[in-house]
Structure formats: C-alpha cells, structure tokens
Symmetry: D3
Subunit: 291 residues, 6 copies
C-alpha cells in the first residue's frame, strides 16, 4: 500500500522528537542488573546463544521463575490475536510508545531541522533502526482504527531487518499481505486505515511501555507462543533456560511413562512416589543432563 | 438438517410479504451513479471481468479510494468470524433484512394468496433467487439463537447458485456441515437452533441494510479477506481496480528491494528518495504497466 | 511442567474431601431414566456401540430431539475456544466442580487421613479415575488465572486414560505442549499459572455442574464439534442417533440433488413438492435404510 | 448549543427524503388491529383517557399480557441509561430510523426542491411534527459519537411539543442542559458531538424500527419505568390496563396482609390457601372494583 | 404481580427437593470455627449486638482483616447494581442455589409427597423461612431473563421477615414496585419476566454458593455499602469490629487535622511523624477508646 | 483507613524517583502556546478569573472550539463513573502516571537517599503538592484491584488542598467514606484494597498522561459535568469562554421562544428564518452582551 500522507503531515512527522527519552545512563541505571553486553544506546544484549535456547522454552517455564523473583506482571495477559501461532516469537525488545495525538505536542523541536533531507515518519524511522534479533514492541494503547503500525511493506521491512516478529498493542493493516511473510505477529485487531498521525503520536522510543498487563523495558527478551506473550528481564534469562532444561527432561520422562499406559498420573507426577521409579527418573535425568 | 417448521408457521411464512421494498425506479434512483448494466429488478450489474479483477485486491486498496469520495463507512468493522479466510469473497450484494418478530407485521397481505402451491419460507425464497456472482448479505442484527440463516442444506444451495459466499450479521447453524463446502462465510456466531420466525421476521428484500458499521445497497461489490469486509458502490469499482494495479507494482518493487537487504525502508518507502532509485522504480512501473 | 506446590498446600489438598457428593442411590434417583448399565458408582454407561454412532452426529441433530423433550438448556452456549475443532469430542461425562477457595471449607475431614501415603491433588485424583470413553467436564466458573486444570503432563494423562478430550469452563496452561497431543479441548482461556488452590477449591465430584448455559450430569454424553458443545442425557441418545440416520440420508439426497444444478432449494427442501421427486426421495430413503 | 452545520451539509439535509416510507394505506394494513381512531397519516391514536391509565401500570403488568398473545419481543432489553427514572414515560410512538451514511443515498430526490425556503435537518423536521402525547422513538443503532439526536435546545422543543419524553437507541449531547428540563430520557450514552450527517443518515420516518430487542410501530404505546422500556401495540392496551387493575388490588391486599406480620408469603401469595382468607380477598377485590 | 404458574408447573415445584444439602453435622463441620450460637439447622448465629456494630463498618475495614487470614476471596467483585446505596446491608446469610433447569433433576423425590397441602414454589418456601436479621443470598448465576427472584410482593415478604435486604447474582422484576420498600438490594439486572422454572431450578438451600467472586456460607455476615459487597465468616466478625474501632478514631483524628488546613497529608497519615503530633494522636486514641 | 504498608515497601516507595520527567524547560517547550503565567515548575497557570467562567460552561461548548483547532481527542470518552455529578469539576491538571510494577524500575536511585526523614509514598507526595485550583489527574490504566488512588483520608487531603476534585483512570476505595466529602470524582471502579505498589508503580509526575481517549498535559483545564470529561489546553480557554457566552445567550433566547409554545424548533433553531425574529434575536444578543 502506498501511504497517502499529505506533505503537511510529513512535515510534522519528520521534525518532532518523542517526549519521553532515556539517556544511555538512564537505560543503564534501570537495567543495572543486566549481566550481558549492551548496544551503543545502553540496551542490554542477551547473547545470541541464549536466545537460541529461549526458543526451546514454553510460557510456563518462564512463569516458573519470574513471579518468584517478584516479577508478577511480565505476562501480557488475554485478548491477543496471533498470526502464525505455529512459530515461536523470540528476540530482544525495542519499544515504541504512542498516545492520543494533540498538535501542541507534535510541533517541531528545532526550527532548523526541516531545512534538508527527506522526512521520515517516526514509526518508520523506528523500524529502520531494528537489528537482527530485535522484536518491535509497540504500545498503541489498543487502538484499532488509525492505530495500524504496519501494512505489508513495512512488515516486510521488519522481517528482513529482524527475522523475529512484531508485538503491537494496537492494530495492523493488510493482514492478507502480511500473512504470507510467515512472521509471528501479536496484535489486537485489523483495520484498513493506515496509521493516522492526527489521531496518534509517538511519545517515546526505547522507554518502558505498557503492553497488555506488563511493563516492557528495551532489552527484555520477548517470548511468545500459543500460550501467550512473556517479557523476560535479561537478568533472569539464564536461570529460566537452565531450569527449563530439567523440566524438559522431567516432562519427557513423565509423558514417556504415561504413554506406557501402566501408570496413573499420581504415580509419577509431579514426582514419582515409588522409590524404584524415583531412582529410574533420577538416573534418566542424570544421563540426559550429562549429554 | 430437516427443518421442523410447524404447518401453522409455514402458513404464515408463505403468505406475508416484506414491509420495506424498493421499486425498480427507486433502485435506479438510489443507484443512479452506477455506470453498468442492471438486473431486471434494477440492481446494478458490475461486469464479470471487473469482478475477476476485484479478486486481486486487498482491503487496503479499497480503503485507498472510498473515504476520499466521502464513503467513510463502507467497511463492516470488527467482530466477524470468518470461515475459510484463505479464500477471498467477491460478488454482487443481494440484501435481506430482518427485525425482531411481531405477529401483526407477519399477517398475510392477500387473503387469496394461500389458496395453492407450496409455502416457501422467505429466506429460502431469497436464496432461490440468487444468481451466479451474487453474494447473499443478510442483516439479522447480530442475533445468534434463532438467527441462523442457513444450515448445511441451504448453504449448499447458496454455493451452487452463486459460487461466491455468504455474509450474515447473525448466525449459521451446522458449522460442521457447512465447513466442507469450502465457501467463505462471514458471520457472528453459531447456534444449533434453526431460524425462528417467531423471533425474527423478514422486513425487506434488496433494500439498504446495515451490516456491522456499513450500509449495503443491492449491487454493491462485496469484498472480504483476512483484513475484513468491504462493500464497494458500483461507481467506484473501476477506479479501485485501476489504482490497485499501480499499488501492486509499487509493493512488488518495494518488497523486492527490501528483500535484497541493501535498503532501509525509508530509502524506498513510501517513495524512493535517491534519484537513481526513483528512476529505477519509474521504469519498472512503466514496464509492468506496459505488459 | 513440574508443579511447584508447597508441602503445606499438598497437605491440605490431600486430605480434604469435596463438599457436594451424590451417593450411588442419589445418582440412580437423578438418572432414573437411564436405560443402560451403570458404573459401580451409579453413573450411567451408554454402550460403546452407541457412542460410536454419536460420532456421526452433528450438533443440529442433537437439537432436533432435546428441546422437544423439555431439555432446552443442554447446549453449552457461546464463548468457547476449541483446540482441534477438526476432531469430534464424544464420550461420557465425569464432572468436577470448583468454587472460589476459602480456608474453612478446605480443612481435613478426617484427622487420621494424613497419616500415610502420598498426597494427591484433588483434580489429579479425578484425572486418575478416568475410564476409556470418559470426558472430563470441569466447572471452574470461567476462571483463567489460577484456573488452569491441566498442562501438558496431565493433559497427556487425560488422553491416555480416556482417548476422548476435555471440557473446562476455565483455563488450560501450556497450550503449546497440549496442542501436539491432538486431543479436542473446549476451554475459555490460557494462562501460564498452574491451578491455584488458594484461589479455587474442589466442591464436588460427579455431581451436577454448570458448564456455560447447561447443567451436566455424570453419565451425560458429551458431544462437541465446530458448532459447539452439547450434553445429551442417556435416555435420549438412542432417539437422537435414530433420527439422525434419516436426517443424514435426507441431507445426502438433498445435497446430491442441489449439486445437479437443476433445482431450486425449495423444489426439494425441506421436502420435495413434486410427487415424482417425493417418490424418488422415499425410495432412496428406503433403500439406504435397508442397507 | 448552536449547531455548526456547513451550508453544503444543510443543502443535502434539506432536500433528501427518507428511503423507507409507509403510505397511509400501508400503516393501516400493518396496524389493522388498532381499535381506536387514527392520526391523518394513519397512525393509531390510543385515546388520552387510556394513556392516563397506562401511567398507573408497572412493566410487569405489560408483560402479563403481551407474551401470551405471541408478542414476546416488545421489551427493549438491557443496557439503557435512564434520565429521571423517578418519572414514568408514557405516550404514542413516532419513529425515526437512521443507518450509517453514504452519499449516494443522501442525494436530493427532486432537483427543484432546493429552490426556496429554509433548509431543515431531517431530525429537526421530525421533532417539529411531534404532537402532545407523542414519544419520539429514534433508532440510531446504538451510535454514540455523532449519534446525538438532541442537545438542550431540541430537547426543550421535544418537551414543549409532547410533554412526554424521548427514547433514543443512540446518544444525547449536553446532558447537563437536558437534565433540568425534567423529562424522562432513555438513551445509550452521551457525547459532546452534535449529530453528524456524514456519519448517519435518516432512512425512515414512521416505519417499524428496531429499538434494543423490540420492533416498534408508529402508534405503539411507549411505557418506561425503572424496570425498563415496553412498547405496547394499541390492540392490547385496554386488556393490559384492565388486568392491571385487578393486579393492583391483589398486590395492595397482599402487601397489606404481609405488613401485618401474621402471615408467611405462601399463606397468601400467589393466592391465599385458607378458605377464610380466600373469601376475605375476594370480598376486598369486589369492593375495590365496585368503586 | 400475580405469578402465572401453570398447575403442572406448581406440581413439579412443590414436590422436588434440592439436590445439594448439608446436614446439621455437615454445617457444623464446615463452620467449625464459629464461636457463637447456632440456629437449629446448624447455621452460625452471630449475636445481634455484634451485627449492630457491623453496621458502623466500611468495606475497607473488612478487607483490613480477611486477606491476612487467608480469605482473599470474600469480596463479591464488580458489576453489581445497588438499589438504595444510601443504606447499609448487614445480616446473616441464608443461601439459595440455582442451576440451568433440566427435567430429570426436577422430578418428585417422593411419590406420596403430592397427596395433600398447597404447592409452594421453592424460592417462596425459602423466603418464608427467613428470620429477622437474615439476608437472602441467591445464586442465579447472573441470569436476567427468567432469573428474577422477586417482584414487589415477595420483596415485601423478604423485608417484613428480615428487615435487612437481598443479594441476588441474577435479577429482580418490578423494580418500580420494589424501590419504595426502601430495602437495599444488590442485583445484576431487571427483567419483566417472573422466575421461570423451565429455565432455572433450585439445586441447594443453605449450601456454599458462589456470588460474584466469593463463596458464601450460611451464617456468613453479609456487609454491603457503596464500596461493594463482603461476606465475613463468623470467626472474624469480632476482630473486624474491634480493629475498625481504632481505625474510626484514627480517621476521625486524621480528617480533623487535615481540616485545620495546617498539615500536609504526610505529616499525619498514615501516622504522624512529629513526636508531638504522635503523642497528641495517642492521647486522643486513648481517650476515645476509654469512652 | 490506616494503610498497612510493610516497612520494606515503604523503603522502596520513599526512595525511588519517577522514570519520566519533564524539566521546566521541557514543560515550557511543550506548552509554548500558553498565554498565561506559570507555576515555578513551568506548569501553565490559567488565571482564577478565567477558571470561574469555565464553571459556567457545558461540555458541548468546549467541543465547539477544540476539534476545529485540530484537537480532536481532548474528550475523555465513555465508561466513567461520576461521584457527585450535580457538581461541576473545574481546575488545572496536575498529572500522575502509573504502569504495571517491576522491581528493577523501583530501585532506589540514590543510595544515600534513605538516610533520614520519613518515607512518603509517591502518590501521597503528589497529593501533598496540590495547590488550590489544581485537579489531580491520575493514569492508573483502568486498574481496579490494587489501583485505588485514595480512600477517605487522602480524598479529604485532596479536597482540603485543591477544593476541586479528582480524576482517576483507575479506582478509589472507601466510596462510602468519600461520598460525604461532597467532592466530584471521575473514576472507573471501587475496590476495598489499598493501592498496591507490588502491582503498580509511579512512572511519571507532571508528564503527558493518557486518560481514557485523551492525552492530558499539566496545566490543561479539566472540565467535567454530566456529559463527561474534557481537558482544555490553556491556549484555548479564553476562546471557549468567549464563544460560550454567545451560545448561552442564544440558547437562553431559543428556549425562551420555544417555551412560548408559539414556534416550531425550525422557526428559531439553529437560527431564526423570519427576518423579524432574526432581528429580535440580534437585539437580544446585543443587549445581553452589552450588560
């Protein structure tokens, strides 16, 4: 779709800056517990190897760690539509925040800024900054009409840049054109309108955003599957992955046993009662962990 | 399913006529801008060739034309369930309007009418009049229980007559039997009850009807895909199709460029800034249009 | 997922008994019209052969019998999510009822009960009692967070024990792990929390339960397809199946005729008007029934 | 509030005519059971004396008659906001129907029509035709923004013309200015926008309209109290009023007896069992009716 | 309103017994922590003097005690309509449970039962058993149409018997007639239908019932004000009342100080920081408690 | 109510600072069009005399100016509960923003900060800074349980400090205790829990906040009546007030004329057609303005 933005509108779009920002120092202060490297803007960079392991998780394994650490609100909650639920969504959050538009907050911040160069809409500039492994996480406060962050062209741009997917607490347009890209998208609705900068305005880039029931920080690990959406602070990713490995083996063994048809669930789940079974499980666990 | 309509009920059904009607002259007056042929009852007949081209559209390409013409309410809005979203729904609207039933509006209009011949329920008579390329568009005001316009038998009849699909702002029954027909259906819910003429009554055939957020006229082009439902007045179909051709080429080129991985989205979208790229696109467009 | 239940909680879970119970005599009194054998606890046992025939039904064929008998509320109503709608869910209901938890109703009923043996959570004990052909029907009053009756391990246990499926007026967790089991599940939502016995408590096993708009009795036949969920009291199963056979033949003939493209729906549906067609249908019916 | 309608818009408003109309003959056909006089346009005119008696009814007394006559859908259902619930709304319905606007249905019907005279918006012309005892019943299909039938000026006009009240399945504006008029209003919401003829269009005046769950005919008696809204066809008004008189006496006696504190409700309600009490009631009834 | 129950229906009503019951022993077991007397059926009887004090509470003072005891679900939650919110509702719960009706659970339990005496509908018999200070707490699972526990006559009976009020997770009818009684009623909706025993059936009397988000036991203290509905188990009533006394004095003093205009809220709330103020408060508290 | 905050929690509360802040310069930049004085922190200070005039407005008179200036989203939209709708809410916005809590964003920003002085919860500190004429505008993103900004004590503090009222897109507690203060409150729900800093966290003070459908800036004029809530940027207050004066006179004259019973609404509204009437109105207007 060719976006039909009036020259006047592009003017405004190209010149204003977001209201809420975090300096590199602020990002580092608020993500002080991040044990990994960072991007130049301070955003935590959970290593690629760990991201690979996150792809093997299920939502429940994230839950198994986070609430116990006092993070009871990192699950995005109900009401999401999922495009391509058969694929997991995993990556590092970059965030974009919108609020209802009002002209006085959309004025140019620098009178000279418009003197040269093309005008780029703010959400497009955000998309152009995506790195491989990033997940665009957009707070459009559930807006559907006029709250459509991408159509098929910009969705293609997101996919090519990030190879991950998209989370928008708002809408998409051109669902028919986005579907064949094969990218997982978590969204609230579909509408034929393009994003409408007279209805919505960008208020922050890479700031904390509210997505459903959760607050997401730039650098959080986004994890989505059929069971919903989770945002994992960097400091917990390793523990989640490690615990999950044991759970995987436990569930593998449990289902293997149940599939024999010889046991009631309570014989072996949550843990086997019979000492012989208990031993069998422990040996199985040791062997599998030893790999 | 054999509909279990009491003799008494069939009696009533067979004899009453709808309350709201449009004469051929009225249809022509209200669709005066239709540039095409008409059916005998005055309903605009957008040509088959154009319908074929409509199948290549996306919802956004319809949006690109209609609001600019002052038609801001032709999109059916949210809350629809789609059976077979992988198929596009395209055809000419024929409309049926229901309201909550009251016996004084269901009385026979002509005392002699019941003297001979079988009694045919009004919605079935409507279905029996469908032509190839027609889409049955039914306003059942969102009613689910007792608001089930078809089960598998009448759905088969619709499919055989129209080879298009069905839009019902109400319910269907026998979803399990309708699914294998393979016909796209836009509906609000499913219920095991057959349509209940003591709860609903036909008030109009081929009159303007409200479907979701839109008013649909007989002869409008129905267009449905994963992105929702649109009703295009005949006078705009050609312009929509023509504009879409350019958009298709534009999007084809844009995605081709994005897929090279060499560009940021803003280099080429909505339009390329670099003069060389601009020229490349214009030549591509010319060549493709020239085909 | 390894459920993380504290020792303290398991203690409570293991010892308390449900509040509402029906003795074998009560079950027999309330299901006095059951014409078939019974399980040891009095629950009606519709024969396997009949269950096989139920698999050929559609929701509408159940509706065709039940309301006429005064059973107008056996359809579970709207708002269900279906995992694996392409498979029919058919089996004998066993029921489990929850209410919001309060500690005074969760106290041990027998001070000696905790002296030995492993503690088994009540819902797990319920699952361990499932027989082949049973369908677990769980009233969790629509609760999502903390109202998750199974994850992938216990779902595997249900599948292995019953080979049918699950109905929960509440939630499941680990949808990603349950999906590959291939079992039809009717549920309200998904949440990463395990079932939370400080929020919900078991109040009855094999008692009447409210599931959506219906009251379900143990021994009712559960029937689910794309059209929704129905609960058939045992005394009507045979009549439903017998009537459906004729409906199947009727619909087969109707669609065959419609597919010829020679008839309007009203020529043959609900019944053919033309005497020759009428005769043709009757002979077809006789022949097919005679098989 | 001064409505700010552009000249262009007024032009359109003033000239187009509604799409759905009923001739005097049609009104008489569809209200053939009306036993009373009629207005010049055919609308039934239930006599003023009867209207006075209707003011003494309660919603339940209307229910006591209508469903038994096959009119099961004359209650407007849930979701209404009531301004001044302490006053009963009673009067004869005049109806106005809106649908989502589209320009081709809003074109002038007569090219000469705009040659002279002031342009009057259609809803205002409707209001100007109200008679004493009329109740404006407006179908704005639940629309809130842009679906505001009156502000304080036109609400004053309604009150002065009808001395009854207003029913709008849509919105009002200027609730603060309407409140002091003291008129009962049944509505769905409040919005500061004036009615927006680029969003909504008049499609019928004095035709059947859907208001909540009911179909309302011009001439129906509107009855509203804290218990909701009912639309009584003229042919049943007398029976409702007559039956209610007995119910009033019955309830008066029942409550009088209950207030003595000497009886359980089942001693006297629904009817007294004790022969002496029965006789007492019958004498009370006779005496009171004799008045 | 005279209830129009057919003889046939009354027959069924009069003879069946509820399915769920608790014996006196069971009631005593499940309310073992009740420190007060009991009614003959075992229901706890919090003393009248204590009930008087409960009338001085606010919802928040109940909250201040219950969750800390592990009773986190005794608040009825959102979505209630309140008639007469200006009056507090306080009393001892008696409970009535309904489920969707099915005829096989409504059959007479004793073939001789119908040989003599008047038939009394089950909900009326329940009302006739109300004692002064009781609050009828009815689980009609949110049903509106056909789920109307009382009209004006039975509401009068409730008021005369209990002098408290009514809680129904369902509907009332004749709101216009109930309003002048002046009794606080917590309910979900209003409908003109009387209670419909072909849609709903009584399943339990004085058993645990689910009301909104809470489980209510017979003998719980019902507490309702503008802030919502709470159900206090008898064992906590005294502690709630005692703590509230201090809170009352604290709030009295806090507001008195704030009203002087000399303090910021943080100077004195939640507790004064200044030693002199602290002392002043403590002396005030002592004096007021000493009264 | 005495808030029961653990020492641990108070520690966190007292030391952390909000994430989003605007410096004085930023406030001035974003409110550059403010024609009036400012508070020391840069917040625009619309003069008291003008505030007095705003009290005479109606919601519609605000609408009459703002959308025409491109401010189409300053109306807070539907779904608000209003305490004391009989009083207008008028004042200067001060804003407070919450998001779902996560511990890493709640850490102390300055390790020395906790060395002395009492700890004050952030929302209380916000309340303590209120000036006469301020309106506390709190974004609690619709949260009810745990999202209760005030009970009766802090509501008293707000009232004493501001003498205006409160807007919270979230909840209040102790509605029973707040009601008698007599202060207008716009809120979403009521819950007995106090505000829960393990569920919600302050993210900004005097930053732009989203309240319903609107973005509110510190210094906006809050205007609430029965018709809803509006937020007027300072630069438009005078124009709104001036236009409203004419509207008041217009409406006064219109209603006076309508009350004579001599005119149809279209004779005089929106403007009189008759030249004599027109002149009469103009003279009336001139005279009234001249006062």
């Amino acid at each position: 779709m060719i976006a039909r933005l009036s020259v006047l509108l592009l003017f405004a779009l190209g010149l204003r800056a977001q209201i809420f920002t975090l300096t590199r120092d602020q990002v580092m202060k608020y993500t002080a517990e991040n044990p990994y490297d960072r991007f130049p803007d301070g955003r935590p960079k959970v290593p690629d190897e760990l991201l690979e392991k996150v792809k093997g998780l299920s939502i429940e394994e994230v839950w198994a760690v986070l609430p116990g650490k006092g993070y009871r609100q990192q699950f995005a909650g109900p009401g999401w539509r999922i495009m391509h639920p058969e694929k997991k969504l995993v990556g590092r959050a970059v965030t974009l925040q919108f609020m209802p538009a009002r002209p006085d907050l959309q004025k140019p911040s620098d009178p000279k800024a418009n003197s040269s160069g093309p005008r780029i809409a703010q959400h497009q500039r955000f998309i152009d900054n995506l790195q491989p492994g990033d997940v665009a996480v957009v707070d459009l406060y559930g807006k559907i009409e006029g709250g459509t962050i991408v159509g098929d062209n910009l969705a293609t741009a997101i996919w090519n840049a990030s190879k991950t997917g998209l989370v928008v607490d708002g809408a998409i347009r051109d669902a028919e054109g986005i579907f064949p890209i094969g990218m997982p998208v978590y969204y609230r609705g579909v509408h034929p309108t393009p994003i409408d900068y007279s209805s919505v305005m960008v208020t922050g880039v890479n700031v904390p955003v509210k997505i459903g029931d959760a607050t997401v920080m730039p650098g959080d690990i986004v994890f989505g599957d059929r069971g919903g959406l989770y945002f994992i602070p960097p400091q917990f990713v390793k523990e989640v992955v490690d615990k999950a490995e044991i759970t995987h083996i436990h569930d593998e063994w449990t289902k293997m046993k149940l599939d024999t048809g010889k046991y009631k669930s309570s014989d072996i789940y949550p843990t086997p009662h019979d000492p012989a079974l208990k031993k069998e499980y422990e040996e199985y666990l040791k062997k599998r962990l030893g790999k």
